[in-house]
């Protein structure tokens, strides 16, 4: 197997942040032209491993790392990311590293532009030379050609579809003369299904030319399809390292999570079946939505009417852009809305977030960084904040009620409780929320909503961008809350399987209207028909795991 010298060899990599061990003895090799799929839950150490590879400043500032990196046969000690780039390692990040007002060409060659010579260089320095745009364009075209896609070299980045931006980033890495290894971090997260296919094809092309690829993704289907080998990390260790051929998504997932998925699923199904029989007769309508419209760019709601039953878990599904995300955002006052919403018979004010919160409705937004969290504040703050603002919890009255004083102890207790309950991986209740991984941030958002003890809870894309283990935990917590406290939950999600495993009924939104409502036991094809618009003759879309459409 090891007839070829590996291009990258990680040996015994370990890292601890102030005593909190994050990586232990991780070793694996990458051969030239090989595609390695790197999988693991959030918090398993994937991003830390990549930060070490790229010599990010945070690694050096916190005591360096153990182990060694051998690249192209030589042991390397990178001082900063530029050293890694110089040696031939490229990285495509999840957030696009592009200048919006520049063209494709300008971005591909950012800071490596071709220059005309100039007599002024000696006096004013090399940056006084003018750009040689013709050479730049031909260089860019060469890189684009390697990708096997069509990109307009003159188009401005901000006018580009998301998929093209991703390709521009990759083209930039390719433009370095000596690129030998490219790391891609969740490259398909923002792509449509067809764009993802093109990307995978491109990566295969690149691998065929001898460029090694490390592919980090949660989409196990793509891992299985694309990669030659799979490396699974769990809790900071390398668990397994095996060829992708012959493996299955289930197998990889179970390795990631450490439990047998099947066993788990069986238990779940049994308990669910029991419970659903118990609560089979649902009573009155708690929330009546009539002729709701919501102006949310990209998720317009035109005319939605729903009756939500007390104590149920109602799912709202549908394809991206059809309007399902507009519903909770509109009702909770985050987007302009109109129509009529009644809670227990009494009308709810629209376009008034505080009023809705005071009626004991809560919302876990899909935009956790923008709407859900105070990123600069600690976990305890975040969890307690809304409850404190709206319900005056965690406040001690002083001077006979003149002053309200914050009770930090009560907040810390609450945070500790939820950290335990939801298994939030953190350094403590005071850790800055912005520093948590995506899944843990989601858990904090959930905790914040639970702290309000709401009667109605809207949850929007609860498991987007978080790994399998956390997914299950989040969904279980929702189910538990519904069972124990009778909270009515309205869950909006693009993953149908998730909806079917948690919800009692599922409404499908199409073109801003409710296309139909089905019980969770309905067949997948029936949902597919609704999602595509009941009148159409198209076959129902495939809803395989990991697809977002």
């Amino acid at each position: 197997m090891d007839s070829v010298e590996p291009i990258l060899s990680l040996r015994g990599i370990g890292k601890a942040f102030y005593g909190n061990r994050v990586l232990t003895d991780v070793s694996f090799d990458v051969a030239p032209g090989e595609i390695i799929g790197l999988v693991g839950e959030n918090g398993a150490g994937k991003s830390t491993l990549m930060k070490i590879l790229f010599a990010m400043p945070v690694i050096g500032e916190t005591g360096g790392f153990e182990g060694s990196i051998v690249f192209n046969g030589k042991e390397v000690k990178f001082r900063n990311s530029f050293d890694a780039l110089d040696v031939g390692i490229g990285m495509v990040h999840q957030e696009f590293s592009l200048i919006p007002g520049f063209t494709t060409t300008e971005n591909i060659l950012l800071n490596r532009e071709s220059l005309h010579g100039s007599a002024l260089i000696d006096i004013f320095g090399p940056r006084i030379s003018t750009l040689d745009r013709l050479t730049m364009e031909s260089r860019a075209q060469k890189a684009i050609a390697k990708l096997g896609v069509t990109l307009d070299p003159k188009m401005l980045i901000r006018e580009m579809p998301v998929g093209h931006k991703q390709f521009t980033e990759i083209a930039r890495e390719l433009c370095r003369e000596n690129v030998k290894l490219i790391v891609l971090d969740e490259p398909t997260a923002v792509l449509t299904e067809s764009e993802a296919e093109v990307l995978l094809a491109t990566l295969r092309l690149l691998a065929a030319e001898g460029i090694a690829i490390i592919f980090i993704s949660h989409r196990l289907r793509e891992i299985v399809e694309l990669c030659d080998r799979v490396v699974v990390l769990r809790d900071g260790r390398k668990i397994e390292d095996f060829p992708a051929k012959g493996t299955s998504i289930k197998e990889i997932a179970s390795l990631m999570v450490g439990r047998s998925m099947e066993a788990q699923a069986q238990i779940d199904a049994a308990s669910e079946a029991r419970l659903r029989q118990d609560g089979a007769q649902q009573a009155e309508t708690i929330l009546a939505i009539e002729n709701l419209w919501v102006d949310m760019p990209g998720e317009t709601v035109r005319n939605v009417s729903l009756q939500v039953k007390q104590g149920e878990i109602l799912g709202i599904g549908g394809l991206a852009g059809q309007g399902k995300l507009g519903i909770p955002n509109g009702i909770m006052g985050l987007a302009p809305a109109g129509g009529s919403v009644t809670l227990r018979g009494k009308p709810v004010a629209l376009n008034a977030p505080r009023a809705v919160l005071e009626r004991n409705m809560a919302f876990v937004s899909e935009d956790r960084r923008g709407v859900g969290l105070l990123l600069d504040e600690g976990i305890d703050w975040n969890i307690a904040f809304t409850a404190m603002q709206v319900q005056d919890k965690f406040l001690k009255p002083l001077l006979g009620g003149l002053l309200q004083w914050r009770s930090d102890a009560a907040m810390a207790d609450l945070a500790a409780e939820y950290i335990k309950l939801l298994e939030i991986k953190c350094t403590g209740p005071g850790q800055r929320a912005g520093n948590l991984s995506g899944g843990n941030q989601q858990k904090v958002c959930l905790a914040k909503a639970f702290a309000l003890s709401p009667d109605v809870l809207f949850v929007s894309e609860p498991t987007r961008g978080i790994d399998i283990g956390a997914k299950h935990l989040v969904l279980d917590t929702l189910k538990k809350h519904n069972r124990e406290y009778g909270t009515t939950i309205i869950m909006v999600s693009s993953e149908l399987e998730e909806l079917r495993s948690v919800c009692d009924r599922i409404a499908i939104v199409y073109e801003g209207r409710i296309e139909g409502i089905l019980p969770h036991t309905a067949r997948v094809e029936e949902f597919g028909i609704l999602m595509a618009g009941a009148d159409r003759d198209e076959p129902p879309l495939s809803l395989a795991e990991g697809s977002e459409q």
Partner: protein, 370 residues
């Protein structure tokens, strides 16, 4: 189509507003067109250079350079020296510019470095820095000159023996640029040489944009993090932008004062930042985007308004003071408007980019236009 028109109106709201205002005020003021035309030609020659000095910092993402006043101070010091030494004419102006060069470079470096410490708040930093530098300038001009710094011409000093007089006549260089290449068309004096200089500096700006430095500035102006990650020395680049701006402001102030013919030692530089920025904004520029057409349109509209408002005010409501009040109101008002619009646009952009997160890629695959 309607939305396109609407978009055009919103984008150019400020310019359109001022055009309408002026179109109303000109007939009301009763001023003859020939007078207005001549004045505009003169003022274009006088003020345009200063406004052009504002372009590069905007390109570098540092907003409106209120620190250009520092360059104006350097230019004035240059002029004071050549007046003292008795160097006249074009050589005098050139010498003043050369003298102002090292002072401008130093002040620009200082200003840029301080602005780098206050990223995201460059404008207010420049504003306050200008006040602070004003104090230093006064110290130099009212105390050091004549005592520590030798002044040869006692006429220039205050009666106490040190410190420069409040008003310094520039007869030696008065209007020398304007009259260098005299041209008279239809009874109008056209300052050809001044226009040539403006053309030259405009060409410089256009050429500069094509250099690697210019490209780096544009990149750093749009996204500091991405540029830094690509290896562009963002901090240095920003400082260079401010240095060039300060140097141009110094030269621009010299051109400005040579046309006026006198330096008001303590106050000639004070309003110049405000007026130049206001003119640029009236011309349709924003905190993040400005180009040479904005400069020219802005100078014309701004000064037209100045010219007509006293008479218009007098004819309308019987008070000529309206002109002066109006001038202040317009300058500060348009800057406030631009800043508010900038913040509002930024908030809208953030909101829009979050909107794409919510729905994933919208149906046609294009992101919401910023």
């Amino acid at each position: 189509m309607i939305s396109k028109l609407r978009l055009f109106l919103i984008e150019n709201a400020v310019v359109i507003l001022f055009v309408l205002l002026i179109a109303f005020a000109i007939p009301v003021s009763g001023l003859p067109a020939s007078f207005l035309l001549q004045e505009i030609l003169t003022r274009l020659g006088r003020n345009t250079f200063l406004v052009i000095a504002l372009l590069l910092p905007i390109m570098a993402g540092m907003g409106l350079n209120f620190g250009m006043v520092l360059g104006a101070m350097a230019g004035q010091i240059g002029l004071i020296f050549i007046t003292d030494w008795g160097v006249v004419g074009l050589p005098g102006l050139l010498l003043a510019m050369i003298i102002s060069l090292p002072i401008s470079v130093f002040l620009g470096w200082l200003c840029g470095s301080i602005m780098n410490l206050a990223k995201g708040r460059e404008m207010v930093t420049g504003f306050i820095l200008a006040f602070f530098m004003n104090g230093l300038y006064m110290m130099v001009v009212l105390y050091a000159m004549g005592s520590i710094i030798p002044v040869f011409n006692p006429e220039m000093l205050l009666s106490r023996g040190y410190g420069i007089r409040n008003v310094v006549g520039l007869d030696g260089v008065r209007q020398c640029l304007d009259n260098l290449i005299p041209l008279k068309i239809a009874g109008l004096n056209i300052p050809v040489f001044s226009f040539l200089i403006i053309a030259a500096v405009s060409w410089f700006i256009v050429w500069f944009r094509k250099t690697k430095l210019g490209q780096d500035m544009r990149a750093a102006g749009q996204d500091r993090a991405v540029s830094g990650a690509a290896g562009i020395p963002v901090e240095q680049t920003r400082i260079v932008a401010i240095i060039i701006s300060t140097v141009l402001a110094g030269i621009g102030q010299i051109i400005f004062l040579q046309n006026l013919g006198t330096i008001n030692t303590t106050s000639s530089h004070e309003q110049i930042g405000m007026f130049s920025i206001a003119a640029l904004l009236i011309g349709g520029a924003s905190v993040t985007k400005a180009s040479i057409p904005n400069v020219i349109v802005g100078v014309i509209l701004f000064h037209l308004l100045f010219l007509v408002s006293p008479m218009a005010g007098k004819n309308l409501i019987g008070s000529g003071m309206l002109g002066e009040y109006f001038r202040q109101f317009v300058s500060y008002g348009v800057i406030a408007l631009a800043l508010v619009l900038y913040e509002w646009k930024r908030a809208a952009q953030e909101h829009a980019s979050r909107a794409t997160l919510r729905g994933g890629a919208p149906a046609d695959g294009k992101e919401a236009a910023a």
